[in-house]
């Protein structure tokens, strides 16, 4: 017992002493030696078999009292693997690239057409990365996207990340994290989709801004790319993507108007408060099909084309009409999405998976010819819109 005590004390002291001497090795990195990577872009390289890898790092700049804006350091490298790129970058940057802070992976269009798997493997295997990074598909080159000089001065990758995270409020494009992409990929029957990001010059799509340079200085996420496995095989436009959002139960809040239906009538715009989509396997026209039941709650906050004040009773009728018109809008969006699915004959809506979940026995019989089946698989749509209120006014101001 006595000896044990001496032993213990000696052991602890020796360990502590040796540890003090040994600090500095064993994978230790001081924070200021790190160069946090926040954005990663992939394009095809000039040489076959190589990739153009764009890495956006962030470097803090220390002011007198406060920390001023972060400075961006973006490199593009042509390498055949990410590790090679890592090596190349380490040669020029004196700091250690740190992957743990990566926010966004931007995939170039050309690379997407050639297949993603090779570049994404590193990001899901190396321990510093996490499966919660966002994936976006660039229209054009990923390099250009990441090199965009934002007018607001924010770092491009941060801008994309914030844009995606605030996307819930408009729900016009899907949020795809790396992990989600892999999970969908593993389902086999479902085609993964990734939202599309593009540069907008002043004047593009009705947006104008003041800019000194001729380069585009804003980015916009709109639409999505559909993949066959890891190969890009088509794009969804804005409307089709919106349809996808309804059908996949991903709409949280939406801004919606009925103007496109018929300009002459009274039109409404409003905010979708929430929406739920339910799926039922049902016999449609004699064969088994899938029925979507979408329930939407809307608050009307814009009424267009009203010329005079109406009574309370009339207003009730008007709102009922508004419900129908909103229903029509949503149905149109969904239908265009169905249309696209048939056109591409790719099941990005996950219809096969819904069938499998609800009727596994039937799924087994169609599983093998699913590619062919999608083209004319029967679906039906049941949209129910409820208008909660019409804002602070139950009528409109009169114009004389």
């Amino acid at each position: 017992m006595k000896r044990k005590w001496c032993n213990k004390i000696a052991l602890v002291l020796a360990l502590l002493a040796s540890m003090l001497c040994l600090t500095g090795c064993w994978g230790k990195r001081e924070v200021e030696d790190l160069s946090p990577l926040i954005g990663l872009g992939f394009d095809l390289g000039q040489k076959p078999g190589t990739y153009l890898i764009t890495e956006q790092f962030v470097k803090p700049k220390k002011g007198d009292t406060t920390i001023s804006a972060d400075v961006d350091r973006t490199f593009s490298l042509e390498a055949s693997s990410l590790r090679e790129a890592y090596e190349m970058i380490s040669k020029i940057a004196y700091r250690v690239p740190f992957m743990g802070s990566l926010k966004v992976i931007v995939i170039g269009e050309d690379l997407a057409k050639a297949g993603l798997m090779n570049v994404l493997d590193f990001t899901q295997r190396y321990a510093e990365f996490r499966r919660s990074m966002y994936l976006v598909l660039a229209k054009g080159k990923a390099q250009d996207i990441l090199n965009t000089k934002m007018r607001s001065g924010t770092l491009t990758a941060m801008y994309i990340k914030n844009n995606i995270e605030s996307g819930d409020t408009i729900s016009t494009f899907p949020t795809v994290r790396l992990g989600h992409y892999f999970t969908v990929l593993a389902r086999k029957s479902t085609a993964p989709i990734i939202p599309v990001i593009e540069r907008t010059k002043s004047g593009d799509g009705g947006i104008e801004y003041k800019s000194e340079s001729k380069e585009a200085q804003e980015l916009r996420i709109q639409g999505a790319g559909v993949f066959r496995g890891d190969l890009l095989s088509g794009f969804l436009n804005d409307e089709e993507t919106k349809g996808y959002m309804w059908l996949e139960n991903q709409v949280q809040q939406r801004l919606i108007d009925t103007v496109d239906l018929d300009k002459s009538q009274i039109n409404y715009a409003g905010q979708v408060l929430n929406s739920t989509t339910k799926y039922h396997v049902k016999t449609i026209d004699g064969t088994i099909g899938l029925e979507y039941k979408i329930k939407v709650n809307i608050a009307v906050d814009e009424v267009l084309g009203m010329k005079e004040q109406v009574s309370e009773l009339e207003w009730v009728d008007l709102m009922q009409e508004a419900e129908q018109r909103f229903t029509k809008v949503i149905e149109n969006e969904c239908q265009s999405s169905f249309q696209k699915e048939r056109e591409l004959s790719l099941d990005f809506l996950g219809i096969g998976r819904h069938i499998e979940e609800r009727n596994p026995a039937y799924w087994k019989t169609v599983k093998d010819q699913w590619q062919e089946k999608i083209a004319d698989f029967p679906v039906s749509l049941d949209v129910q819109v409820t208008i909660h209120h019409s804002g602070m006014s139950d009528s409109s101001a009169t114009t004389n």
Partner: protein, 364 residues
């Protein structure tokens, strides 16, 4: 003579039964039974109950003896001793492998550049301290740490809920019940590890009539608690990753820890969870360390500090011999499935049968 209380029996049992199962289980059962893999976890663990009851009934007949000593009494000296030898070899080997797992998960997931032997050393230091302080302290350690492990698991699961994909658990039982059987087979060895531990622990259990009832309750409580916890862990992995990805991911629960985001700012807190998992693995390694020392004590009558150091050196040696991660994991599965599982599966019923038979003849 050291003794442990009935509550400690439960938490100690649960902690040993749990060990590091939550790290590896999901991949195995999902591979065997697909999307329904989670259903196999609980039945697999409940196998510990009948076997545990058999051990407890032997305990009643031979109080304060472990099963190795009982085998010597029932099966004769040499047969008993050779069983003891097998027991020592298997548990020693497996203990070393679990130590290697500890190093492997740390190196793989959060500290890739730290030398492996440091993890082994840190783990062994804790194990030696625990073993040196005796079974009572070990029991109290598991009593204090097991709730923390449970909280860690539950937190990990709860925080991962926002990352859930739609309906990954459906359809339930699409391929019928048959694949479940293979999943159960995957889980059963873990229950058997626990039974082997119980075989050695028997010496320290209270044998009063009241306490025996409490031990039985403790037994099934431990099995169900661990079964349900592990089941939840498997469910959440299938829900977040989908079955195919669950099979592919090396340590799903660690990946889950990385995914966790607290209000979109603090993320990747797996290194915090790793501290808790370390406790779980230390309990498991200590349990096997204890098993080796009990075996050596009852077979060769060797005990004392220097033999502890020897066992520690052997553990370290085995762990250092398995620095190839995938190879080590295969070996681990091999020991579980083809050594520990059959040994416990056969040895315990034989002992019970012989003791019943002896009792029968003794009465006549």
């Amino acid at each position: 003579m050291e003794k442990i209380s009935t509550h400690q029996f439960m938490t100690l049992g649960a902690a040993v039964l749990m060990g590091g199962t939550f790290l590896l289980l999901a991949s195995g059962v999902t591979e065997a039974s697909g999307r329904d893999g989670w259903m196999t976890v609980l039945p697999g663990f409940t196998l510990a109950i009948p076997y545990g009851l058999v051990v407890l009934s032997l305990l009643v007949q031979y109080p304060h003896k472990n099963l190795l000593q009982i085998s010597e009494i029932l099966l004769g000296k040499w047969l008993g001793k050779s069983i003891g030898l097998i027991y020592i070899l298997i548990t020693g080997y497996y203990g070393g492998l679990v130590l290697a797992v500890l190093g492997d998960i740390y190196e793989r997931s959060i500290m890739p550049l730290t030398p492996l032997w440091l993890f082994y050393l840190g783990g062994l230091l804790l194990v030696l301290y625990l073993v040196g302080s005796g079974i009572e302290v070990f029991a109290r350690f598991s009593e204090a740490v097991f709730p923390v492990i449970v909280i860690g698991l539950v937190l990990n699961v709860l925080l991962a809920i926002p990352r859930m994909e739609q309906g990954e658990l459906l359809p339930i039982l699409a391929d019928g019940i048959k694949p479940l059987f293979f999943g159960v087979l995957k889980v059963m060895p873990f229950a058997m590890e626990y039974i082997l531990f119980l075989a050695g622990l028997a010496t320290f259990l209270p044998t009063g009539k009241n306490e025996l009832g409490q031990l039985r309750t403790g037994l099934w409580r431990a099995a169900f608690m661990v079964g349900i916890l592990d089941m939840v862990v498997v469910i959440i992995q299938i829900l977040v990753f989908g079955p195919v990805e669950t099979i592919r991911l090396a340590n799903g629960i660690l990946e889950l820890g990385k995914l966790v985001e607290i209000s979109r700012t603090v993320s990747g807190i797996e290194s915090l969870f790793m501290g808790v998992w370390l406790g779980a693995l230390v309990i498991k390694i200590s349990a096997f360390f204890f098993m080796v020392t009990w075996g050596m004590e009852s077979v060769f009558n060797l005990k004392g500090l220097k033999w502890n150091y020897l066992v520690a050196a052997v553990f370290m040696g085995i762990a250092l011999g398995f620095t190839r991660g995938p190879y080590m994991l295969r070996e681990l599965a091999f020991v579980e499935d083809y050594l520990m599982f059959p040994v416990a599966l056969i040895w315990i019923p034989i002992l019970w049968g012989v003791s019943c038979w002896k009792k029968g003849t003794g009465v006549q």
